[in-house]
Structures are given as structure tokens and as C-alpha cells.
Symmetry: C2
Subunit: 361 residues, 2 copies
């Protein structure tokens, strides 16, 4: 006899974007079952343009942290430089849109910088201490703030790619900042969806999510004074994780110094918990924030979206924009909470700090 | 001295979606430079649920082509069966939307079928003759037509995943059809963009593209009586290829029999040309078409979008919805035209047919 279908599924709607996701878990599927990317041999330091001593292989610094010495010298703790293979550049003219027949185009004006997070080639956010992560976040804040004040810049994105499946092959730890003279349609869609929710309910979707997740707890991973980290109800990808501030602000650049210190701890805890469950997983994270001049919006709250790259999008997702997620967010959260508990128990250095952060805010 | 940036880039707007793409070519980058996925050992036929003799490992047929014998017996040329690991199912209730706190959800109602394209485990669309490909297209047409008439179905997608980077690990050649009780937001966005273009110009964006590409020729690959295959001006991915009918119709299911025969030839030629340039490349294709009841739209034209999976999306793309394409579509088209010419010269069986197809329509 032909066999029956084995799976049932559920559609869930992300109230921040209005998009439906299909949650289709396969019985017995476990994170261990995801195809693990082969870990490539790290590029030898000799060939790494981001390692100390190779400063001449990158464009000149726009920001750096060093105890002493000259710009573009070797004694640094963190550097920010223009991307040598920039996708947009201030050297391109900021020109009007052109047309070629029916086709609109424009020069690739903008800024594209790389945050080289550590002089250590093998460092990783999951092994850095909160002070080192804080230094990275300070660089984000300084450079995003500066680029947003440049003429013609309308929007910037801060993001990080870890591993080849996440779109990078350069293992030296780094993040990127891109600033553009336009607001990409995916960003505009997110904002319009937030505005519609606010218009219909009088409340921010992000505030509603924050409240619901804190109360329910079943998708929660880490709670601190200023942030919550959780698996969203309509997770698009297995182990998708959001970090949302308790203080509702539209723009990341409006974070205050206490929040920045707390975020360094929460980001580290969250990534370490993911690593316990998933191994050295490939991931992207992005900081969703508002375009320039929209910092006062009440309908949107900046947040970090961590996107593990465990599966490959297929034709259905590419054709519809609708994701199929094979992991129940509640299951992912339970595993990540257990990992976070384990890390608190096992890491005496951080026990006191982390225990206090995890009491409800 | 720190080095200067090396790349310049261009922004291009897809007039069918309104989305901008960054075309950022890196000097000297060639298709050969894309990371090639390791070709996995094909699953042994013994374990392949789609091979003849293993019919009991799938749910029962909804459509089949066989010369003789019973349904679900082994003597078939093509089978369509419900997906055993369906992402949506008619066994799920078609219910109203529910809410859990602020979170909307619904049961995963719908249809998910697999088109097993050949009894041959190692067959591939690039090696099938036009008759075999035509059989596959006939199955698409029959099953999409049937599913669109089912109660509650609002939309269907026909798609194909080839290779692990394209989201499949089952090597036996197959396509998929999903039918849903809703129109995904990515589909709705595409239609609204087409409506806006039509409203502003009085013309279909697809008709304008067809005319411009035919006239310019620089992004054209194959032209036949009923179809053109070309690299779109604002290609989102390297070697993205569209096949668009000369007769402007909104719904794939309204294709006529002459067109279906011609499409079998053009699809085969196009995929073979891509294979000459890219090797056994991973790809998805999707047939973009309209939701049920919108078959009369004048602003939209159904088309096939072939998406080679040569690169991995990174944080920028995931955070903005804006793609970065490192290959100039005009360069990709020149290589694919050369490959198409080479195939016509080298394949005496098809020379006459294909030469006649390639005269301008």
C-alpha cells in the first residue's frame, strides 16, 4: 500500500512583517540532523588581510581602538576600514537615476565599512569576554552614527556573517556596515507593516511581542535588565533568535551606555547558548533599525535578528517569499534555555553577573 | 600605504518588482571562481523512494504516464504523488485563523505534490529529450489545473530544486507543486508592483521587458516562436535566467499545446547552455503565475525564473531584501549565447529544429 503523509504543519504570522511562515516539523528531526558545513582550514594568518602587520592590505582606518601608536600601525585592539571590495562607494557619483530603455539604474554611491573585531585571527564572539564584545558594539555605534550624518545617506545596516554558508569565507572575525542613499524595499515593507499594526491597535507590534514573550516564557532564552533574547513565534529559520530592548526605541544609535554594556553580555550569552546546541554554526545577524530622520517612530523598535544558516532556501521560498521552518521555535527555545543554564553553572567567572541578569526585569 | 577600494558598482531596478539590486562585479571574477558544491554520491537506487519498484514508499498516485499496468505499479514513465513530508496537507482542517495572545496562526491546509519526472534515477532535464521534458510540463499543467479547482485553494506554485545548495538532497529528478489557501506576501507584492507599473504607463512591465530585450539582444540567450530566454537587466543572482512567453498571458495554466511543445525545447536548450558554462550547477526554478481567479490580469505575464545557487545570501541581503549580484548580466548572457551556439553546432539531432527556433519570432 502506498504510504500516508507523515507530517502535519502550522502556519504562523509574523505580526511585525505580516508574513506567514510554514512550521513543518519532521518527526524525530533534531538539530544534530542538520547538515554540518565542513569547517574549512582557516586561512593562514600569513595571507589574512585583517591580521596585525597587514594593515597596508586594507584601505585606511576610519576608526580604531589602540593603546598607543599611529593610525594604520599594528598595535590595535579593533579597526574599522572601508571594505576593499565595497558594494557601494563614496567615489561613485551620487547621481540622479538614469534609464536605459525601460530600465532604471543609478551609480553605486554609499559607504561600506568592515569592523575588524579583534587582532586575534581565531577570536570569535562566542569566546570573547563582555569587554571585547562591548568594544565591537561601541564601534558599531560610532561608525553607524558618523555614516548616518553624511550627505545623501538615507539608511544604514549593521550585519555580521559567520561561516561560508552565511556568505563569508574570510575567517578573521569581522562585521560590516553599509550606508545607502535609499531605503531598501525590504526595510520599507517592515516599517509599513509596523505602521499598519500601530494604526490598527494603537500599540507597537514589538511592545506586544515583548510583553507576550515575557509572560509566556516558552520561547524565552535570556532576560536581563535591558534586553530579552527569545525565539520568535513565527521564526523563519530553525533557531532564529531575536534580541529586543526593554526600552522601546526606533533607532539602534539611540542606545544608552548602560544598555550597551548589558547588550554585550546578552549577545555573548545568546551566541554561546546557540553554539552549545548547534556547534560552530554558520549564521548572520542584522541590527534592524530605522532610516535616517525616522528615529522618533513609535511603531518600530530596533532589534537584533540572529539567523543560523542550517538549511538552504529552496524554490518554494524563493518563489513566494514564504519560509518553511522545520524546527518548532518552542523546542529550539527549550534547548537554548538548557544550554544557557548549563553555561551559567559551568562558568564560575560569570555566575554572579549572569544570574542577576536572568532575573525578570 | 593602505590600499584603495578596487570596485565600482551599479544599482539596477527590477521594474516587475520595484526592487533595487546592487551589481558589484569583482575584477577578474569568473564563473569558474564560484565555489563548486561537492557532488554527493547519488543515493543508491536501492534506497530511493522514487525509483521503479519502490512505489509503495510514496503515497498513491494522483497522475501518471504509463503504457500499461495498474496505478502504483512499476511500469511508469512519470508519476505525481502527494509529498510524504508535505509542508501543507488536505488532512489538516481548513479553519479560521486563530490567535495565541497577539500571535495569529492557522492549520497547515493545502496540497503538496511531487512530480517524479522519470523512472531513471540519474536522468536530468539537461539530458532529457524534448519529448521527456514535454511530459514533465504536461504533468505540471494537469496537476496545477486540478489543484486550482479544489475548494479553498487560492494559489499554487510549481518549482524545481536541483542540488543540495538549492534545498534538496534527493537526487532522483523531481519537481514540486504546492497549493495554498492564501496568497503569499511575496506573490502579492509582485502583483501589486505589476499593477502600479500598468497604472503609471498603461503597459505591462513584462511586455516592455520583452520588447526591450528582443531589440537590444545583449542579454538574450534563446529566441523561439513562442518564448524568449534572457538574463534580466536587474538579475538578483549570477546567471539568473527568465523564460517569458511571446503571447502575454497571466496564468501558466492558459498555455496552449503549441506553446507547451516549444517550451519543452526552450527550457532544455536554456538549462543545457547553463550547464555548459556552470557545470552540474545547483539551481531552483519557479513558474511565476497568478492566484486563482486572477487569470485575466493584463498587467502580469507568467514566466519561468531559473535561479542558479552559486553564492550564499549574507546578512546584507537578509536584512534588506536587496540582493548583491557579482556577475554582470550582459557578461553572463554572452557566455550563455556562446554555449547555446556551441550546442546547436555540436548536436546534429537538434540542429534543424533549434536553428529554426532561434530565428527572431
Amino acid at each position: 500500500m502506498p504510504q500516508k503523509r507523515e507530517s502535519m504543519s502550522e502556519l504562523r504570522r509574523d505580526i511585525t512583517t505580516g508574513e506567514w511562515v510554514i512550521i513543518a516539523t519532521e518527526r524525530g528531526r533534531r538539530p544534530e540532523g542538520f547538515s554540518k558545513p565542513e569547517l574549512r582550514e582557516s586561512s593562514p594568518r600569513a595571507g589574512c588581510p585583517f591580521c596585525p602587520g597587514h594593515e597596508s592590505q586594507t584601505p585606511g582606518e576610519t576608526y580604531a581602538v589602540r593603546s598607543e601608536g599611529d593610525a594604520d600601525g599594528p598595535d590595535w585592539l579593533l579597526r574599522v576600514v572601508p571594505n576593499k571590495f565595497a558594494v557601494v562607494s563614496p567615489e561613485s557619483p551620487f547621481d540622479q537615476k538614469h534609464v536605459a530603455g525601460p530600465f532604471p539604474w543609478a551609480s553605486g554611491f554609499g559607504y561600506h565599512e568592515v569592523v575588524i573585531e579583534s587582532p586575534r585571527h581565531d577570536a570569535d564572539l562566542t569566546s570573547m569576554d563582555p569587554g571585547e564584545i562591548h568594544r565591537v558594539l561601541e564601534a558599531y555605534l560610532a561608525r553607524a552614527g558618523a555614516l548616518r550624518r553624511r550627505p545623501h545617506v538615507r539608511f544604514n545596516l549593521i550585519f555580521r556573517n559567520h561561516g561560508e554558508q552565511a556568505g563569508t569565507s574570510l575567517p578573521h572575525p569581522h562585521s560590516q556596515i553599509v550606508a545607502l542613499p535609499l531605503v531598501p524595499s525590504g526595510v520599507r515593507d517592515r516599517l509599513e507593516s509596523a505602521a499598519r499594526y500601530f494604526g490598527a491597535t494603537g500599540r507597537s507590534a514589538y511592545a506586544d511581542i515583548f510583553k507576550a514573550e515575557s509572560n509566556a516564557g516558552e520561547r524565552m532564552i535570556v532576560e536581563s535588565n535591558h534586553f530579552v533574547a527569545f525565539e520568535p513565534f513565527a521564526s523563519r529559520l530553525p533557531f532564529e533568535t531575536w534580541i529586543v530592548p526593554t526600552r522601546h526605541r526606533a533607532a539602534f544609535v539611540d542606545i544608552d551606555s548602560d544598555e550597551l554594556l548589558d547588550l554585550a553580555r546578552v549577545l555573548g550569552q545568546t551566541l554561546r547558548s546557540l553554539r552549545v546546541v548547534l556547534g560552530d554554526f554558520n549564521y548572520n545577524y542584522v541590527i534592524h533599525s530605522v532610516p535616517c530622520g525616522e528615529e522618533r517612530r513609535a511603531d518600530f523598535c530596533w532589534h537584533i535578528q540572529i539567523l543560523p544558516r542550517l538549511t538552504n532556501a529552496a524554490g518554494f521560498e524563493l518563489g513566494t517569499g514564504m519560509e518553511i521552518n522545520i524546527t518548532l521555535p518552542e523546542d529550539a527555545a527549550a534547548r537554548l534555555r538548557a544550554a544557557a543554564d548549563h553555561l551559567r553553572g559551568g562558568d564560575s567567572r560569570n555566575t554572579a553577573n549572569e544570574a542577576s541578569q536572568c532575573s525578570p526585569a
